[in-house]
């Protein structure tokens, strides 16, 4: 397990994520744009060059047709004017050079090395480097038709260094622009994220202001961007639950103090008064007995509270086994037998016997509390019914007793600790009002739920326990 956590790192910050993603996206866009524009530029120059070379080639062909014998180098030189960095070479069918440019590339070799082609068609243009310069050129074989009787090989080439320089500087400028734009984009997106987080930080400041004494504070979900509304609403819900729990705990502490204070006061007063003057041994004994009873009650309350605290703090602490529900209930009926006979009420069980997955002692305790509670509020001559049934998911135990309607506002508090029905005075021998709270904590520790219903005729407690097969 621990090995796994070693590799779990904190996720990257949101600013980093957004900035990184935007940066990568922008970089890809820029690179595509750059590549496309360079290709277009290249194509454009190639087209221009081809056109120019085509013009030159046709000028040469025209000159050749005018001079007719092709030996007039002067005429060939004159054929092309007004073009700089353009070279051409003319040879006859035998390969004898009729015209050679004074400088520029070795076109004679080029003419022999490259198979004949048509410059004007823009095909088979070659780019090569020679003496530190770059040329684009082509070879054309013309003649043997009406216009030219002889066959000539014409090689044309031009220095494209200027174009390449332009492309190079264009590319350099583009890189600078991309770098600059990237910086701006990254910076902007970082700012955008920071700025976008301002509402979060503002909400955070508000959250910080919620101290344990100000749990009633809530965040306004409409004061934040729509994306955060859900989060804020959830936070408010959680805060509500915390507030409830906190309040319950505070009330519980107050209840404990009250519950313990009363018997302690009794014992103290009684003891002090008893010691106030000399008394007979019988009187002292009476005081001690009375104190003992009081302490016994205190002890039970403390044990019940400890039990509650343990069940609620550590619900996993169950000794789960398969328990036959019907047998358990019948065992409890056995225990209550004397009491129900004296109270002249009856206990009845209905439903099939089936096993549940539970902590036997805990389950007995919960059911015992429910049954004793029912006995307490049932008039003589009436019958308490325990019904057992099963649904797909749960085992259902309901304990019903005929009796007066419990008002809804009391019903909702019936499982609270130290809750006692209004009307019922703290009778001797009865618990501190923790019985039903214990039922609830036991059932919930088992993953179940408990509820109470009451109408004019019946009061029912429903216990749902998750089924065995879960």
């Amino acid at each position: 397990m621990t090995d796994r956590f070693v590799f779990l790192r904190r996720p990257a910050s949101l600013s980093l994520r957004v900035t990184g993603l935007v940066g990568i996206a922008m970089l890809v866009v820029f690179l595509i744009f750059s590549w496309v524009s360079l290709r277009l530029l290249d194509r454009h120059f190639a087209g221009m060059d081809e056109e120019e070379l085509g013009v030159i080639a046709s000028s040469v062909i025209r000159a050749l047709s005018e001079v007719q014998d092709g030996s007039d180098a002067q005429a060939l030189r004159r054929a092309v004017r007004g073009h700089h960095g353009v070279y051409y070479h003319v040879a006859d069918a035998t390969g004898k050079a009729l015209y050679e440019p004074k400088d520029g590339p070795d076109l004679a070799r080029f003419a022999h090395g490259v198979p004949s082609a048509t410059v004007a068609a823009g095909q088979d243009m070659t780019i090569w480097e020679e003496d530190g310069r770059t040329y684009r050129g082509g070879v054309i074989v013309a003649g043997g038709d009406g216009e030219l009787s002889e066959v000539y090989t014409i090689a044309v080439a031009m220095d494209i260094g200027g174009h390449l320089d332009f492309i190079r500087s264009f590319r350099r400028i583009q890189w600078w622009i991309i770098c600059g734009a990237m910086c701006i984009v990254i910076l902007m997106s970082w700012f955008a994220v920071r700025w976008g987080h301002i509402p979060i930080r503002r909400a955070n400041d508000k959250v910080r202001a919620i101290t344990s004494s100000k749990l009633y504070l809530r965040l306004d979900p409409t004061s934040v961007p729509i994306e955060l509304e859900e989060t804020i609403a959830s936070f408010n819900d959680m805060l509500g639950r915390v507030e409830d729990g906190f309040e319950q705990l505070a009330n519980f502490s107050a209840d404990i103090a009250h519950e313990l204070r009363t018997p302690v006061t009794n014992v103290m007063t009684q003891t002090e008064v008893a010691l106030g003057q000399a008394r007979s041994a019988a009187e002292y004994r009476e005081v001690l007995y009375s104190n003992l009873e009081e302490f016994g009650r205190l002890n039970r309350t403390i044990n019940d509270m400890l039990f509650l605290a343990q069940t609620e703090n550590d619900p996993g602490n169950l000794n789960l086994e398969s328990v036959n529900l019907k047998e358990t209930v019948l065992g409890l009926f056995d225990y209550f037998e004397a009491l129900v006979e004296e109270r002249e009420v009856k206990l009845e069980i209905r439903g099939p016997g089936f096993p549940v997955h539970a902590d036997r002692e805990m389950l007995r305790r919960a059911l015992s509390n429910l049954i004793s509670n029912a006995i307490r509020y049932t008039a003589s001559g009436e019958t308490i019914t325990v019904r057992l049934s099963q649904t797909d998911r749960d085992a259902v135990i309901s304990v019903e007793n005929p009796g007066e309607k419990v008002p809804p506002e009391e019903l909702s508090r019936i499982f609270n600790r130290f809750y006692r029905a209004s009307g019922s005075a703290h009778r001797k021998g009865e618990g501190a009002g923790l019985g039903l709270a214990i039922v609830k904590s036991i059932v919930e520790a088992h993953g179940g739920s408990v509820s109470a219903l009451s109408d004019e005729r019946l009061t029912k407690f429903h216990v749902l326990l998750p089924s065995t097969n879960n």
Binding site: G296, N299, F307, Y335, F336, A338, L339, E342, G429
Partner: protein, 230 residues
């Protein structure tokens, strides 16, 4: 029961220790007291005791360690664990390490005394007896019948079990929780007066029409069955 049984109480809380010792001594036991774990272990291994009452939370050496060391020497003396927390873990741990019983603080002294007696009896007691007679009350354990002054008393099976418990432990004060646990297997405090009602009904059958009254209420502690002194 042999009344010269010797007990060791290992408990650091001074008041609890003193009163437990006094209570046990007045119940007829010889009691030694150790106020911390190291002393307790030393005494437990150095002398013979019939039972040790051992607190879990102790200075210098806690109860669990003391128990382990005692058991490590092969000493099988019964040990009653006193725990402050009633968490299941604590109990299970204690019982697994060889404690014979446990009691959760705060406990009633009558409960402690009853448990001590149960543990001491566990060894040699004659559970196989089939007849108990107290005054003119006779329990036929084999046939589960009771007679008083020669008259058959009709008891339910639980009533007989209750009477048998009281009779077997004649003269001992049995706390309600012990009665609930032994007769009905209810091992928790119930907030009802079921035991009182059950005793009242038993009394009506056993004592109401007869003298002397055998079942006595010990206020704040429990019930006992005995022949009255007077």
């Amino acid at each position: 029961m042999d009344l010269t049984m010797k007990l060791l109480v290992v408990e650091d809380e001074p008041k609890t220790a003193d009163y437990v010792r006094q209570g046990l001594m007045e119940a007829g036991f010889v009691v030694d007291l150790a106020r911390d774990g190291a002393d307790g272990l030393h005494m437990a291994t150095g002398e013979h005791y019939d039972l040790i009452v051992l607190d879990v939370m102790l200075p210098s050496l806690d109860g669990r360690q003391v128990l382990q060391s005692i058991r490590a020497t092969g000493n099988q003396v019964p040990v009653l664990f006193l725990t402050a927390r009633s968490s299941v873990d604590d109990r299970v741990q204690g019982l697994e390490m060889g404690a014979d019983d446990y009691l959760v603080k705060p406990f009633a002294f009558s409960e402690l005394l009853a448990r001590v007696r149960t543990l001491l009896r566990r060894g040699g007691a004659s559970l196989s007896q089939d007849r108990i007679q107290i005054a003119d009350l006779v329990l036929d354990l084999a046939r589960r019948r009771a007679t008083r002054d020669g008259h058959r008393v009709n008891l339910t099976s639980k009533e007989f079990a209750l009477l048998e418990l009281l009779a077997r432990r004649q003269g001992e004060v049995l706390p309600r929780s012990l009665i609930a646990s032994q007769v009905w297997d209810m091992n928790f405090d119930s907030d009802t007066n079921v035991i009182d009602v059950a005793i009242r009904r038993l009394r009506a059958k056993i004592d109401d029409n007869f003298e002397p009254k055998l079942i006595q209420t010990v206020r704040g502690m429990g019930y006992t069955l005995d022949i009255p002194d007077d």
